[in-house]
């Protein structure tokens, strides 16, 4: 068996808000294989987003071991985490998070600009754009697109730099059933077609069913189903 792309042992995260300590994560253990599509479900406030933010290098862990693609997050400085976000991780959020003043195409390009990648999109990514159904909408501004289309642009942007993992935090949370199904189909397609490792948070059991595996978060700890 190859080494897992994500290896987490006894991960803890404590927020200090005012006088009280909030224990958002209380000893998380998780291993994710390369090419896996994992769904994380659980009640509100259980620590799902916090886990993703740590995996994505948006906030440092308090203690424990977190290895992503062989890199130890515990040992990372701020600028190491910036580099991690640039090269190894793609984010998709519940809100579409596109830059409103740039066109769809430039929203995708700027992710490449930040990662110092140049030149035209590669063939594989062009196909992805076709599959996502946004190849002919690159010149539009985000507000001229539907919510579902905007979320598909955000997905395209999140994988344009070929990240090791794609983290999707409630990607269908703002979408109607039809658009949700389309987005979930696409995520599964990306996972199958490109072997993209995907971790997805969702409240919706039907959405979770698209994944290969489902884990449950409760009170800052993960449980297999």
């Amino acid at each position: 068996m190859t080494e897992p792309i994500i290896g987490i042992r006894d991960l803890r995260k404590t927020f200090r808000s005012g006088e009280v300590d909030v224990h958002a994560l209380r000893g998380v253990d998780l291993a994710v294989e390369r090419g896996e599509f994992l769904a994380v479900v659980g009640p509100s406030g259980s620590g799902k987003s916090t886990l993703f933010h740590i995996l994505g290098g948006l906030t440092p862990p308090t203690s424990g071991t977190v290895l992503i693609d062989g890199q130890d997050l515990m040992k990372m400085s701020d600028s190491d985490r910036t580099r991690l976000r640039k090269t190894s991780v793609g984010f998709v959020f519940q809100k579409y998070n596109l830059l409103p003043t740039l066109t769809v195409g430039d929203n995708i390009e700027i992710a490449r600009d930040i990662a110092h990648r140049k030149g035209p999109f590669d063939q594989q990514f062009r196909e992805v754009l076709d599959v996502l159904g946004i190849a002919n909408k690159l010149d539009r501004k985000p507000r001229q697109l539907s919510g579902g289309e905007q979320q598909r642009v955000a997905i395209a942007r999140s994988i344009v730099n070929h990240p090791a993992i794609l983290l999707a935090d409630e990607p269908t949370g703002n979408l109607d059933t039809e658009n949700s199904t389309a987005v979930l189909d696409l995520l599964r397609d990306l996972n199958r077609r490109l072997g993209q490792t995907i971790l997805m948070i969702t409240h919706n059991p039907e959405a979770a069913a698209f994944a290969d595996r489902i884990v449950h978060m409760r009170d800052g700890q993960l449980h297999a189903s």
């Binding site: 933010h53 994505g56 948006l58 906030t59 600028s79 910036t82 580099r83 991690l84 976000r85 640039k86 090269t87 984010f91 959020f93 519940q94 809100k95 998070n97 596109l98 830059l99 409103p100 003043t101 740039l102 430039d106 390009e109 700027i110 992710a111 490449r112 600009d113 930040i114 990662a115 110092h116 140049k118 942007r157």
Partner: protein, 372 residues
């Protein structure tokens, strides 16, 4: 060091500026006002000095004798004995000499009393656009075209000065000595300066002999400042007017302050408004340098637009001055001050963006991405 593709960042910056056109326009206009203030002030200083120099040269003299204890330029009360004019005429190589009375009217305005016939001869003649020279002894004045335009005067108009009514006898083409001249003897008598002049202009039979003649004159007129026309002309510079230098310094400081405040406010509100966008960029892996770079470029662009507007507006102030107060002021367009004024403004703008930009660069990505 990271290397940025650049183009896309400029596009983002440009789109951001376009996204808030009123904010962009007003910020650059305010930045531009600082540039205009500097350019207009320097332009007026330069324009008036050049104008004064040209008028002084227009007299046609080679040597100027000033009263003892006076500076090269500036207003001089009449206290040279007029007999010196006749004495000067007798010196070797002197072709002609004429005394001029300069009488202050309050503030910076003066009136000149001249021997019009002698002055005409020295300066190769006056061109009259209207009327004729004043008649000796008559209570008449001649004025130049700029004075006529600003004060809306014509031949036959009455000018009140020194408690008397002076009739405008004619309007001459500007560029000679001054803007308004009265008969010398009458001005001397009216101001109780009979037999005294403020300056003596001397013309030589050969300008090449200027130094030689000055040396000769100084043997007798030991404590009189005596200048060649070139020496005097070199005094018409900003450096010889400390007040102007100070004032330019004040305006430069104000422009820096102005640029600082405008950009501080504009960029501070801009980053508050763009908290989310900054968070997105950070989530995509943009470091502090990338965010800083965007805001710095935006500021530079604002300053460049502002400077261009400021330069444009300095042409507008020149037009206003030339149209409404051509006799009181002349504004030159001083090209080499364009980059100076722009750089000063850019300096203020960059100081202004420092705090907002650092705040934005340090902003926690999560803060802005937390859902609602």
């Amino acid at each position: 060091m990271p290397r940025y593709n650049g183009f896309l960042v400029y596009k983002l910056v440009w789109e951001n500026l376009k996204h808030r056109p009123v904010r962009t326009l007003l910020s650059s206009l305010a930045i531009g006002l600082g540039v205009t203030m500097m350019l207009t002030l320097v332009g007026v200083g330069e324009g008036m000095l050049r104008d004064q120099e040209a008028r002084t040269r227009g007299v046609g003299a080679d040597i100027i004798i000033r009263p003892s204890g006076s500076s090269a330029i500036g207003i001089t009360p009449p206290n040279i004995n007029e007999k010196l004019v006749a004495w000067a005429m007798e010196q070797p190589h002197v072709a002609q000499a004429t005394g001029v009375v300069i009488y202050p009217l309050g503030g910076v305005s003066t009136v000149h009393g001249v021997d019009f016939e002698a002055l005409t001869k020295m300066s190769d003649g006056f061109t009259f656009l209207e009327g004729r020279p004043f008649q000796v002894g008559a209570q008449e004045a001649v004025i130049d075209e700029y004075y006529a335009k600003e004060k809306k005067l014509h031949t036959g108009s009455i000018v009140k000065m020194l408690n008397r009514d002076w009739r405008v006898a004619g309007v001459f083409r500007g560029g000679k000595l001054t803007r308004m001249m009265l008969p010398k003897t009458l001005l001397q008598d009216v101001t109780a300066n009979t037999g005294k002049v403020s300056v003596i202009y001397v013309k030589l039979d050969s300008p090449a002999r200027t130094a030689e003649v000055i040396a000769h004159l100084k043997q007798t007129l030991t404590d009189y400042p005596i200048y060649s026309m070139d020496e005097l002309a070199s005094q018409f510079s900003v450096n010889s007017i400390p007040e102007l230098k100070t004032f330019i310094g004040v305006v430069m400081t104000l422009s820096v302050l102005f640029g600082f405040l405008v950009v501080f406010l504009a960029m501070y509100t801009a980053i508050l408004e763009r908290t989310r966008e900054i968070g997105i960029l950070k989530a995509l892996g943009a470091g502090q340098g990338y965010v800083l770079g965007i805001l710095l470029r935006e500021t530079v662009l604002l300053a460049v637009i502002g400077s261009l507007m400021g330069i444009g507006m300095s042409y507008a102030t020149r037009w206003l001055i030339a149209t409404f107060i051509p006799a009181s002021m002349t504004q030159a367009i001083v090209y080499h001050w364009w980059p100076i004024a722009s750089a000063i403004t850019l300096g203020g703008a960059l100081l202004g963006v420092m705090y907002p930009a650092i705040k934005a660069a340090r902003q926690d990505a999560l803060e802005s991405l937390s859902y609602d």
